[in-house]
Symmetry: C2
């Protein structure tokens, strides 16, 4: 466009600039001549990407919930006093993890319609603001639960001799493995949330 | 484009620039006659509030770092094998907590100039976008470390009979108290981050 402009004869440039004088025309011809379609397109792209990321996050959060919620290992021996069994609800932190990830999964499913509204109307500010606010809160919930569960998983793997807490993963290998997997899935969901928030910020910004 | 325009003969540029002046006048008088002061005012308010919140978050994050970093309790008795002492670096999670909160504090201090830029130029998009992105990442770091430390503090308070992890807070009461305080301070910092992100989203949105 610029080169064309530069090649334009002077005579033609004159009436254009005169027409520019009539107010709004100047805005569109000088500063925003190509922007409206471009802006709409890029915002629509952002909205579609947002929708796809939400689907991925649902997968990660649901996977984390299901993996942790079904974790259950019974050792093939028992003493007079104990049957050695490890379940997620032996650890309050893992229960919090399951509840938090279930809430996040439900939120993500419920947020899909709003994401679709943002695809249909890329310039709508209301749903976008609502999504960025709730996303932030849900991201905090996800990553708090993931961090808490991660520290317990780490403790189960390595133990802590200073506090006389012994590693239990020698005995409960499968239990440790599936809880570790759930924690990783939850961190993936949290990372997707970070992307979603940044995307929403880009979609919100003035063109 | 502008520079090429600048190379255009004066005869043509003259009416254009005159027209430009009119154009802008028309623009501002028709479409945005009342908006600039109102919008600027509310965005400036948001930016100032952002700055104040950042100062509060620095206090919370630095407080968390310092409280956790100086936590140290030695029990007034010892056996042949042990001197009973609890320090934050007995627990890897607490070390992560200290490092994460120190990073967040440093980030918050470094973000103050950008916040000031946003006060001076409430409509600037660049610094605002930078802040919301980094805030999101730092919020994730804060709350992950706070959640991880919280689960260890909880474990120290209550223990877990299923894993044979015993509560250590009976012995190390002061240690538990100051680590709990640090965790609370870190959660406060994380909550302030959530506010900061939502505020930035409001400041970014089109008027």
């Amino acid at each position: 466009m610029e080169s064309e402009r530069g090649n334009e004869p002077t005579v033609i440039a004159m009436p254009e600039s005169k027409a520019n004088g009539k107010g709004k025309a100047i805005l569109s011809s000088t500063t925003k001549v190509t922007e409206p379609p471009k802006a709409g397109g890029y915002k629509k792209g952002v909205a579609i990407f947002d929708f796809i990321l939400r689907l991925c996050a649902i997968g990660a959060a649901l996977g984390a919930t299901a993996t942790m919620g079904t974790t259950d290992q019974t050792l093939p021996f028992f003493t007079q006093f104990f049957q050695f069994q490890a379940e997620y609800d032996d650890f309050p932190v893992f229960m919090f993890f399951v509840v938090a990830n279930a809430i996040v999964s439900a939120y993500l499913v419920l947020s899909l319609p709003f994401s679709i509204v943002c695809i249909i109307r890329p310039h709508a500010v209301g749903p976008r603001l609502l999504l960025i606010m709730l996303d932030t809160v849900m991201m905090a919930l996800t990553i708090a639960s993931a961090g808490a569960a991660a520290s317990i998983v780490y403790l189960a793997h390595t133990g802590n001799p200073n506090a006389n807490w012994f590693a239990i993963c020698q005995q409960f290998g499968d239990f440790c493995q599936s809880t570790s997997g759930a924690v990783v899935a939850s961190f993936i969901a949290a990372a997707i949330f970070i992307f979603l928030i940044v995307l929403s910020a880009f979609a919100l910004k003035r063109d």
